[in-house]
Every structure is written in C-alpha cells, then in structure tokens.
Amino acid sequence: MFRRSRPANAHGFPMPAAPAAKTDVASYLSVNNIEVIYDHVILVLKGVSLQVEEGSIVALLGANGAGKTTTLKAISNLLRAERGDVTKGTIEFMGQRVDQRTPNELVRMGVCQVMEGRHCFQHLTVEENLLTGAFTRSISRADLKADLELVYTYFPRLKERRGSQSGYTSGGEQQMTAIGRALMARPKMILLDEPSMGLAPQLVEEIFEIVRDLNTKERVSFLLAEQNTMVALRFADYGYILENGRVVMDGAAQDLAQNEDVKEFYLGLSTAGRKSFRDVKHYRRRKRWLA
C-alpha cells in the first residue's frame, strides 16, 4: 500500500516512525493520491494522500495556498460548487468510495465540514443555525431538543446567545456556532478548517479544548486544517504538512513538534538563534526543493 507519492526520506528529512497500524489496517478516512483541478486549468493538489484513524485528531498543516482547504473540500465534495474537480485518485470513508457523492450524502454518512471563516448563516439566530445542522436527519422534535441541549453543554456560551442573530455574535461565538452546527448532524468525522482564524489566543485554546472534549466524549474524529501549527500539534494525534499541493512530511504530532525543520519552518522556533542571510537563502532553496 502506498501512502505518499514520494517518501520524504528521499530528500534528506528525518522520517519519524509512523504508527505501524496505519499502513496495515484500512483507515477510517483515506485519501489516496488525489489531484484537484480548478476550472479545468489550475492544478491545485498534485497527489495528496492521507489517513485518519477512527477517533483520532489529525492536523493538516501548511502555509497559505498549500492546499489544505482544497483537500478538505475535496473530501466533503464542496469543490464542485467552485468549479473544482477531483481528477485522479480516490477518497474512501469507512471503506466506501465517496469522491462522487454529493455533500448531502456525505453529511448523511457522517462527514461534515466546518468551513474556514466560520460561514454562519448571518441572518439566522444562533439556535436556528444549530437547527439547520440537523437538516439531513429526520428526527422528532424531542430528539432535536435533546441534541441542542447536548451542544449547549459543550458550548454554554451559545445557550446565552441562542436568540441573537449570529451575524451579530463575536468571532469566537461564530466559530462555536459553526462547530455546534456540524455536531447537530451527529457526524462521525468533522473536517475543521482553520478554527483559529481571527480569534484571540485564549479563545483558540478554548475551541481546541472543546474539540478534544468532543473527540474523547463523543468519539468524533477530526481532520483539521490549521496554520497555527503549534496549537494544532498540541491537540492532534497525527499531522501532515502540505506544501504547494503535496504532502511533504507527516508523523505523530509529538514527533512533528520536535522536528527541527518543522520548528524552523512552521513554528518559527530555532535552536540556533537568529539566522544569517545565507542560511535563510539556503532554507528557501530547501523549501522549494521540497515542494
């Protein structure tokens, strides 16, 4: 079985040992070597593969334009609304091909995306926003109510704001609304895109705590795309790093967090202190090479 189009090792990267289970057992969600083209011309993903185990939190890391969002949208199939298309490769969820399913079907299967920039329904109240999340489930009013209460236990703040139009709530509350809305679909997996965007560090922490809570208590798996590498790696089990539409590195979260290159490129930490101009040039070259 292949995992990546190109092993990172070949380029002189120290390859962290991947958990043995990953290669053997068919994964919960597996993305195999997909290519995505927008508008029939712009090649955005050039062969991305990744796996998410049941009950895990996997982080998808990388800079702007690396292809994180596109990967998520390829999985949730929101791509087609933006004239994008998966032209190669397969996506499987629980052993079924899902790359030709509509978003509606995917939500029914239990894969739900929380989009970047939150995308709350601005003119709907917080509670109505949550209720739209249950659109795909035909359940009784009582069950709906129970589910709402469950969401409110995770996000007590939303309960206070339940009656206000979500357009007028704060960024953090909107992010909570968006996650809560996804929860209302009773998902098995949430694709979380940039939960930290535009939020104060304290709030970011709070959101990630809740993600972890949901992961452990509700057994929801997460695939989260994040620029805030440090936080993401702290909460995730496993991570993939994308550059220019390719996976350049992956590994267990702790390993990645310890990796010197990751520290240097994504965490802005360097043991060697301030770099000389020469080193920076060298680093740029190395980065380009990786891509």
Binding site: L78, C112, F121, Q122, L131, T132, F135, T136, A185
Partner: protein, 299 residues
C-alpha cells in the same frame, strides 16, 4: 381639500399597493434563495392564472383546479431549475437575468399554446364594488375585493413567515439564501431547495394570478404586472419579504396620490414613471432599498 376623498385615494392606493406586493413577493423569494432576478415571474403569474381558469372553464371544481394548478406550477418550477438554472450555475447575475427573460417568452408561448390567447373572466365570489356601509356612512368608497386582496396578501405573508421561521425547509431556505457554501457544507441539497423555492414562487404566482385575474380578467397583460412590481422591489429591497409589503404600500399610496393630486397639472399619466422616480429617490438615500441587505465591499 376634501378629506373623505383623500382618505379614499390613500386607502385605495394602499390596497392597490398590496396587489403589487403579491407579485413582488415572488421575485423576493427567488432572489433570496438563489440570487436570480427572475423576470419571468410575470409570465409565471400569467401561466398559473391561465391554467387555473382554463381548468375551471372545463368544468373542474374550484379547489381541485387550485391543487392541479399548484402541481403544474411545481412541475414548472422543477423544470426551470433543471433546464435553466442548473446549467447556468455560477454564471454572472446578468446572464441569469437574461435567461429568465428567455424563459418569459417560453412561458408566454407555452401558456397560449396550451390554452389559447382568449381573455377569460374570473370570479372569486367577491365583487369588486364599494363596501356599502362605508359608502353610506362616511361617503368613502372602498372596494370589498381590495380589502379581500389585502387579507389574502396578509395571510400569504403570515403563512410564508411561519413557513420560513419555523419549518425545517424554511430554515434551510433562509440558510441557502445567506450562504450557499455553508448550506452545502451542512448537507442542505441546493438543487432540491432551489426547486422548492421555484415551486413556492409558483404558488405565490398562482395567488397573485387569481387576484389580478379576478380584477382585470385573465389575459396576456397579466405578464405586465411584473413591471408594477419592480419599483416595489427596489424600494423595499430585493431580499426582503417585509420590504415587498412595505414597498408595495408606499408605492401604491404615493402613485395614486400623485396621479390624482399632481397628475392634472402636468397632463396626467404620471403613474407610468412616478413609482420609479420615487424608488430612485429612496435609493439615493439607501442604495440597497429600505429593507435590503447591506452589501459589504472591500478592496
């Protein structure tokens, strides 16, 4: 100034405005949910009314005819979604607008092909005559039918409000209107929703068609009432149900008052442009209409 006459003009204007609102509602529904400025709404009104009246004339029971017509309009709505909107998804608004004008021709032709080009009378059982009591006691002429139309419009708006606010589909419709992508992400199927919106617009068209048909007869000119709804729309805002109503009231009342009190000094017929100029004046103050959603533009 004769106050009774003034009241009469004002009230009849307000009630005429309600009739405009009925048509404007159809525009608003579709614009809200799919961002399409549906010029074919007038043709849909005509199509619905003509289908209904032809069925009744062929001996069908009133309510059965309503149901059958409704079914036809739902089919039309779904067909429009499938054949016109779906292939044009993601195209600029102006292209979609043009497509709906093309659709207008198709619907007009189809309606007359099926049912002929003869005008028909339509009686709903409410005569369009002054309410006697008011005429006797206050010397004010207010038509029964207008009041009835006002009630129907009120009921329709209330019904739509309940539908939009409390039902699952209604919520989904509003969600789609707010954010297509996010709606997709939570699993709301856009196509079905759009088909539903067009079907609901077909229903509104049927109601408007019945009202206007009872008033002026069911004939081709029903398609022109779309033009009466346009100033209402720009005044009220393209996305607002409330705007359609308030806009209709303002336009109706002011155009009647203008025609009666200003018209004679400038040769009359100012109704043709007055609502537009009024709406234009409003727009200069609020470019997105009274209740329209403010668009945020950033560089």
């Amino acid at each position: 100034m004769n106050w009774q006459f003034f009241v009469e003009v004002l009230v009849s204007g307000l009630l005429a405005g309600i009739m405009y609102s009925l048509v404007a509602l159809g525009f608003v529904l579709i614009y809200k949910a799919s961002g399409v400025f549906n010029f074919a709404q007038g043709a849909m009104v005509f199509f619905a009314a003509l289908t209904f009246v032809s069925l009744v004339e062929r001996g069908m029971n009133f309510w059965i005819a309503v149901v059958v017509t409704l079914a036809v309009m739902v089919v039309v709505g779904i067909a429009i979604e499938r054949l016109v909107l779906r292939p044009l998804v993601n195209q600029p608004q102006i292209t979609l607008f043009m497509a709906t004008i093309g659709l207008t021709f198709v619907l007009e032709g189809l309606a007359q092909l099926l049912w002929g080009s003869q005008p028909h009378g339509l009686e709903l059982g409410i005569p369009d005559v002054p309410i006697q009591w008011l005429a006797d006691n206050a010397n004010i002429n207010i038509s029964q039918f207008d009041v009835f139309a006002g009630l129907i419009a009120g009921a329709l708006v209330a019904g739509l409000a309940v539908f939009f606010q409390t039902t699952r589909i209604g919520r989904a419709l509003r969600a789609v209107a707010d954010d297509h992508q996010a709606a997709l992400a939570v699993g709301i199927p856009l196509r079905q929703i759009w088909a539903i919106v067009w079907a609901v617009a077909g229903f509104v068209a049927l109601v408007a068609g019945l009202m206007w048909g009872a008033r002026n007869g069911v004939q081709f000119a029903l398609t022109f009432i779309a033009l009466k709804a346009l100033p209402v729309l720009i005044l009220g805002g393209f996305e607002s149900v409330a705007g359609a109503i308030v806009g209709g009231l303002i336009i109706g009342a002011s155009e009647k008052l203008a025609e009666v009190y200003l018209g004679p000094y400038v040769g009359g017929g100012i109704e043709s442009w007055f609502p537009y100029v009024l709406a234009l004046a409003f727009l200069l103050i609020r470019p997105e209409g009274l209740f329209g959603e403010r668009r945020i533009e950033r560089v």
